[in-house]
């Protein structure tokens, strides 16, 4: 057969190639549309489920501060509304009366937190009230004794087993503590290791071994770091279980390889000619590093660090092992105190049997998403702001 093909078959082949090209382009378009579709669907469902959590049902009832209330707080409200008022409000009445003795013997109309079932009924969701109770609530609603108020408690209170009183404050504070510790440990160590490996380390077997290991460490499942944290920091060094210190150190170990790898990439991207120029002018290697390479590589380093931290913020598996997946409603006041984190809080709510926790789970996810998106936005901003091209 001849090497040269006929004009006809050549044309056909070209058409086929072009058709394939088009087909391939459409495949990629469909892929991106699918990905975007999933994302939009996910955001809309989560957003839709989360929105009700930002408003909270309240009731206007008469509170009578009698002697009995000190013993039986539920006597403070009319008997038929006893189960409509949140236990969270009632149980704090005795303390309130001890702090304000002048309240004794008085009555007052007050907006109080409604129980989860009433709250869900007001929001038109599933509840456990019987027909008679539903009628009573509707009567209250018709006379303006109910309202849905902005739910600031969600941001200013810690976890609770009473859904209407549960908030994310403790988890947010815990997350901040853990992240700060992770950052303070992994950033200096990571950057310093990367500088050494990239600029000063001799190229021998040992260095290669370390490099291979760092690359591998970036890929191992995060739960392994949790086991490491349990074995070394808790069992060996005796750092308190569930504390944000142990959580932060564990996550720092997890973030380290990511920071080292991205820092090395950023350092490598600084042109060799600049280094040679500086050395030729008489700068010491350290001066070249500190005054020239590091500032130029900084945007890349910061991007890598923020991506690493964003990864760490959503991590649950290692924290489960070091005991941070727990009921801890109080925000920690030091790094040695027990604390929980946002993903752990979401997990706890998601596995609770009470359905009123559903909207709070979604709201927690939304908050976590907002934090993650703003961290990624910051990474992009830093990169664009400080990036230099050669």
């Amino acid at each position: 057969m001849s090497v040269f093909q006929t004009d006809q078959s050549l044309k056909a082949a070209t058409r086929r190639r072009l058709a394939f090209e088009k087909y391939f382009q459409w495949c990629t378009r469909i892929a991106i549309a699918l990905a975007a579709g999933f994302l939009v669907y996910f955001l809309f469902t989560i957003g839709g489920m989360a929105l009700p959590a930002f408003r909270q049902g309240q009731l206007l009832v008469e509170i009578s501060y009698t002697e009995d209330v000190l013993e039986m707080p539920n006597y403070a409200v009319p008997e038929e509304y006893e189960f409509f008022v949140s236990h969270e409000f009632l149980r704090q009445l005795p303390l309130r009366m001890q702090e304000h003795p002048e309240l004794l013997g008085t009555t007052a109309q007050e907006w109080v937190l409604a129980a989860a079932d009433v709250d869900q009924l007001l929001k038109g969701k599933a509840h456990r009230l019987d027909a008679e109770q539903v009628r009573l609530v509707q009567e209250l609603a018709a006379t303006g004794h109910t309202r849905l108020a902005p739910n600031w408690d969600f941001f200013t209170k810690g976890d609770s087993k009473i859904p209407e009183a549960a908030g994310i404050e403790a988890a947010v504070v815990g997350t901040v503590y853990v992240l700060v510790i992770t950052l303070l440990l992994s950033f200096p160590v990571g950057v310093a290791s990367a500088i050494y490996l990239e600029e000063f380390a001799p190229d021998n077997r040992l260095t290669q071994l370390i490099e291979v290991n760092i690359n591998n460490l970036a890929a191992i499942p995060s739960i392994i770091y949790g086991l490491l944290g349990l074995a070394i920091f808790i069992n060996l060094l005796g750092i308190l279980r569930s504390s944000s210190l142990v959580g932060g150190i564990t996550l720092a170990l997890m973030t380290l390889p990511v920071i080292i790898i991205s820092t090395r990439a950023a350092i490598r991207a600084v042109p060799e000619t600049l280094r040679h120029g500086a050395l030729a002018l008489g700068a010491t290697p350290w001066q070249v590093m500190w005054n020239l390479v590091l500032p130029l590589a900084m945007p890349g380093i910061l991007t890598g660090t923020i991506i690493g931290l964003a990864h760490a913020i959503g991590e649950t598996a290692p924290l489960l092992i070091v005991g941070m997946m727990a009921y801890i409603p109080e925000a920690p006041s030091s790094v040695l105190e027990a604390s929980t984190v946002l993903p752990a809080q979401i997990y706890t709510w998601a596995s609770d049997s009470q359905r009123a926790f559903g909207e709070r789970t979604a709201a927690g996810i939304l908050v976590l998403l907002v934090v993650l998106l703003s961290m990624n936005a910051l990474a992009i901003y830093l990169r664009n702001r400080f990036e230099k091209r050669w």
């Binding site: 149980r91 303070l184 279980r241 590091l294 801890i328 049997s353 009470q354």
Partner: protein, 362 residues
């Protein structure tokens, strides 16, 4: 710009050093403060570990203690019953938990480990029941099943002509013509779950006795037969029971196995199967009529009482009428109360801090 970034880097390094110093200082300070006072207090906060089934009840009581008294809210971790005993039995002292929750009774070996590791007294507190529901979509007609039929639906091997064969049943009516014409699809707990252990013990170990074939083939091991089929009929569904609830709402054929509190919360869209003629309800679970129910416990390290502030108060609050009584607060979140006499017995054990003797447990 360059100097700005360098300055930022310097500031970060300085901050690291500062925080490291602070942490070291705080740790040093805490050791210095605690060592002379060790005799009085181990910790200023109660630590609780253990079963995920008891976790909601335990944290409810912890919250009540934190909000109505001056004691700090105890930390409650959900580690599973077995994991809880492991941490609990490690010894006496600051780093070991004061209480462990459990959805089964402590094992003799676990209790012996406790006493071998320096504890002088472990106190048992029985708090109530948890029923295990076989739930389905609420729009279905009632589903009546016996323990034996349920067993035949989930077992890996079933008896046939004097021997055991791999489970051939795909439809409930193949097991018994009186059962409805529905494919067998059960979303159940995975092998790691405490609910699975309870299901195996309360359904499989009970029902296996009705079929002599198991003893003929397996001999002595027959009474511990716990193999659940691994085909599409039984789907192990992770630890999140809310996901099983979602599946049942979507799929009318499916059944789900989970704790009673999830059925109670979803009464408007799910219903429980009638097992051996009994519906799962607080009353029938409490009286023991409903066959698939288990007791819930927590265990107190009595050596820590008086050394951890609030421990005694937490235990007393938990055992109070207000919490686990027949109209107590925990009932609202799904705990099934003990009958009166049993509750009083349980309370007496706790108030007198009765030491649990290894001879009394299996």
């Amino acid at each position: 710009m360059r100097s700005m970034l360098t300055a930022a880097l310097c500031a970060l390094l300085a901050a690291t050093l500062l925080v490291a110093a602070l942490v070291a200082d705080a740790m040093l300070a805490s050791t210095v403060v605690t060592s002379p006072a060790q005799a009085q207090t181990l910790r200023d906060q109660i630590r609780i570990v253990g079963s995920s089934t008891v976790f909601p009840f335990s944290s409810f009581v912890a919250e009540e203690l934190g909000k109505t008294t001056s004691f700090r809210t105890p930390v409650v971790e959900s580690t599973g019953s077995g994991g809880g005993f492991k941490l609990f039995s490690a010894g006496v002292g600051t780093e070991t938990p004061d209480i462990t929750n459990s959805s089964r009774r402590i094992k003799k070996s676990e209790l012996e480990t406790c006493y071998a590791n320096g504890m002088t007294s472990v106190v048992e507190a029985r708090i109530g029941f948890d029923g295990i529901a076989i739930a389905q979509n609420g729009k279905n007609p009632d589903f009546k099943v016996s323990l034996e039929q349920l067993f035949l639906a989930v077992a890996e091997k079933v008896p046939s002509k004097g021997t055991l064969v791999p489970n051939p049943f795909k439809n409930w009516k193949e097991i018994d013509p009186t059962l409805p014409d529905r494919i067998i699809l059960i979303y159940g707990p995975p092998a790691t779950s405490g609910t699975r252990d309870a299901f195996v013990e309360l359904v499989m170990h009970k029902a296996v006795k009705s079929f002599p074939e198991y003893e003929q083939v397996l001999g002595k091991d027959a009474k511990d037969y716990s193999a659940i089929r691994q085909d599409q009929a039984y789907v192990p569904s992770g630890e999140n029971d809310n996901l099983i609830v979602q599946k049942l709402v979507q799929d009318k054929n499916a059944f789900g196995i989970f704790g009673y509190s999830f059925l109670e919360e979803n009464k408007d869209r799910l219903k429980g199967a009638v097992v051996n003629g009994v519906k799962p309800e607080p009353k029938t679970v409490s009286s023991g009529e409903y066959p698939i129910s288990r007791s819930l416990f927590f265990y107190i390290k009595a050596d820590h009482i008086g050394k951890v502030p609030g421990l005694k108060e937490y235990v007393d609050l938990f055992m109070s009428e207000k919490m686990i009584g027949s109209r107590g607060l925990l009932r609202r979140i799904g705990l099934i109360p003990l009958p009166k006499d049993q509750l009083e017995q349980a309370r007496r054990n706790v108030t007198t801090l009765k030491r649990l003797d290894p001879a009394d447990v299996k």
